[in-house]
Amino acid sequence: MQQTSTQSAQAGDTADDPLLLGGERLESRLFLGTGKLGREELIPDLLRASGARVITVALRRVDLSRKADDILAHIPADARLLPNTSGARNAAEAVRLARLAAACGAGNWIKIEVINDPRNLLPDGYETARATEILASEGFVVLPYINPDLYVARDLVNAGAAAVMPLGAPIGSNRGLQTKEMIRILIEETALPIIVDAGIGAPSQACEAMELGAAACLVNTAVATAADPVGMAAAFGRAVAAGRAARLAGLGRVLEQGSAASSPDEGLSAGFPEA
């Protein structure tokens, strides 16, 4: 844990800007996935190198009977396990999976994924909101994965979600913030942390999401399929921290056209009498 905080601090001084989520202080705003890793033994190294603390695991891949061989055996004790409901096709299945996760000691955080479209892997907003409502009322810290749809996001706020996780682009596509304008609206309109999940293929894209005002980013494919996953995780850790720091420092307005002088003095306020 100590090492984690130190690394984040080095990466961009986010240690005094924690993300408060589900009653916890998260020093790093990078969340990692595990679904495509070649070696689950890498998980501690990925967390250490990136500074990330939240790691999501598909409950469908968990098999407690395998004990030392199971994926959960590779999650360090100081990490925040975020089980996900991958495989659920409707609200009832997601709820069932979440309850199982809690029953098997995986904690009360749950990332809701309800997908009934294996071709495109797009989430079902309606079923996701229903599952969120049920699980939030049972005391879960619910992080639902959605298309960046304002109405679904509002439903999720009302349903008691802890954050909203819109996709930047289809899962695994590495296309970055294709839904940028919609995510911008969610960030402006939603009172919950917006965590960009899916589609982020490069550290620069994660940085962009953070500059836009995202509270955090979740990355899986880009790290797991890199030639050097640990090196890539470290790069994402720095990019997320840099994007966050830039957001806090206040970015300049992007002009649609023309240019702006660095030291403008056009006399626009001259000639008005002092009050």
Partner: protein, 401 residues
């Protein structure tokens, strides 16, 4: 309800589309030149004509480019995770006379169907080596191993395994529904060949003779609640290009009708078996086999692809990056062979890759892949093994262990 699956009768199934698909194939595959192949490989999403171009002789000369695209698609979609499973042969009684099969009604092998206790013993043996996904197989013998027998067997297997599939005779909608309720999450159906004339010659008698009934089985299963369907043609019976193209078209048809369905492919190449000596298969050379696999991968990047132990260990390892996502290991193709290794050699076909589960898992790791044992499709049935383990874990905590 607008979200319910609908049962679609045969007349509205894939059979009426066969002729149109065959026409499209005939027009596209031999007309495709290197330019068509490069264009197809340059597109984000491939259409039917692109798929035909990738199966063309012209694409055979561009195998490296095809393999690169297939590798990239596989990595993007599946990363480095590969599933492990094993088949479990419940019975070898069969009323069909498929001329290429070691279990067909005319062969003099010893026949057997496992009792519930024997199924339990097989399950225990497979579970002990770490497997959590199984595929239950039978011959086509409605009186000995009919739908009720299969459902009862699935119920036993689902108590232990996180995923249970079936590869059995073509069943009715109601029979599939019963087996899905018993805990099966997937069905595998090999059409063998999509060429109805060759099909008729190779299947001279038995219920399997009815081509269209088999062709329609995957959609009956999907409508009845199976979450995943695996299709395949037994390569070496008909023209491989045509059979792979039709397999892809069949999958696309099912995908459009059931958007929630997980589509998978198997690519079995025919292997020696104690079959009818009058039958001689048309072998599919390795390069053509690789072309078939990579073309399917490019056409349907999201589909799981299974490669069985019919293929050699070297071939299987080489195809892992190019699209294979599921491999069997420690396989016995005889009935009851896991608990009591076969004494009389009554197997459906000979295995080439004889690696045990532990050896396969170790080899996957050496190649940079993560062997995945547990990967449920069915939260309803799939939580049973987890619940069992939970009870154990809670029990252990309570006793201070």
């Amino acid at each position: 309800m607008c979200r319910e699956n609908r049962y679609i009768p045969l007349a509205d199934g894939f059979a009426p589309k066969l002729a149109g698909c065959a026409r499209l194939f005939a027009e596209s595959v031999f007309a495709a030149g290197p330019g068509d192949v490069r264009r197809a490989l340059g597109k984000d999403t491939l259409n039917e004509k692109d798929f035909a171009a990738l199966l063309s002789p012209a694409a055979g000369a561009e195998l490296e480019a095809l393999a690169r695209r297939a590798r990239d698609e596989t990595m993007r979609r599946f990363g480095r995770a590969r599933q492990l499973f094993a088949p479990i042969y419940l019975g070898n009684y069969c009323t069909n006379k498929c001329v290429y099969c070691g279990f067909h009604a005319g062969t003099g092998i010893r026949r057997k169907a496992l009792t519930p206790d024997e199924i339990e013993a097989e399950a225990e043996a497979l579970y002990a080596v770490g497997l959590r996904r199984v595929l239950a197989l039978t011959g086509d013998a409605p009186k000995r191993t009919g739908a009720d027998y299969i459902a009862a067997a699935v119920e036993i297997l689902a108590r232990r395994f996180s995923s249970v599939g079936i590869e059995v005779q073509a069943l009715t909608f109601e029979e599939y529904a019963g087996i899905a309720r018993a805990g099966a999450d997937s069905m595998t159906m090999f059409q063998e060949t999509y060429d109805a004339e060759i099909y008729a010659r190779l299947h001279p008698s038995g219920p399997k003779r009815v081509f269209a009934n088999r062709l329609d089985a995957p959609q009956r299963a999907a409508a009845a609640g199976m979450r995943a369907v695996n299709l395949g043609a037994l390569l070496g019976l008909g023209d491989w290009r045509s059979d792979i193209f039709m397999t892809g078209m069949h999958a696309l048809f099912l995908q459009r009708r059931f958007p929630g369905l997980e589509i998978g492919f198997s690519l079995p190449r025919i292997r020696p078996a104690k079959s009818d000596s009058s039958f001689s298969p048309t072998p599919v050379p390795d390069r053509c086999f690789v072309q078939a696999l990579t073309a399917l991968r490019c056409f349907m990047p999201y589909a799981g692809i299974t490669l069985s132990t019919r293929e050699s260990a070297v071939m299987r390892d080489k195809l892992l990056p190019l699209g294979v996502t599921r491999v069997s290991a420690g396989v016995c193709t005889g009935v009851g062979g896991y608990a009591r290794p076969a004494q009389d050699g009554s197997v459906q076909w000979d295995i080439d890759d004889r690696r045990s589960v532990a050896e396969m898992a170790a080899d996957l790791e050496k190649l940079g892949y993560s062997p995945v044992f547990s990967d449920w499709l069915l939260p309803g049935g799939g939580d049973l093994p987890l619940a069992g383990a939970l009870r154990d874990a809670v029990g252990a905590t309570e006793t201070g262990a």
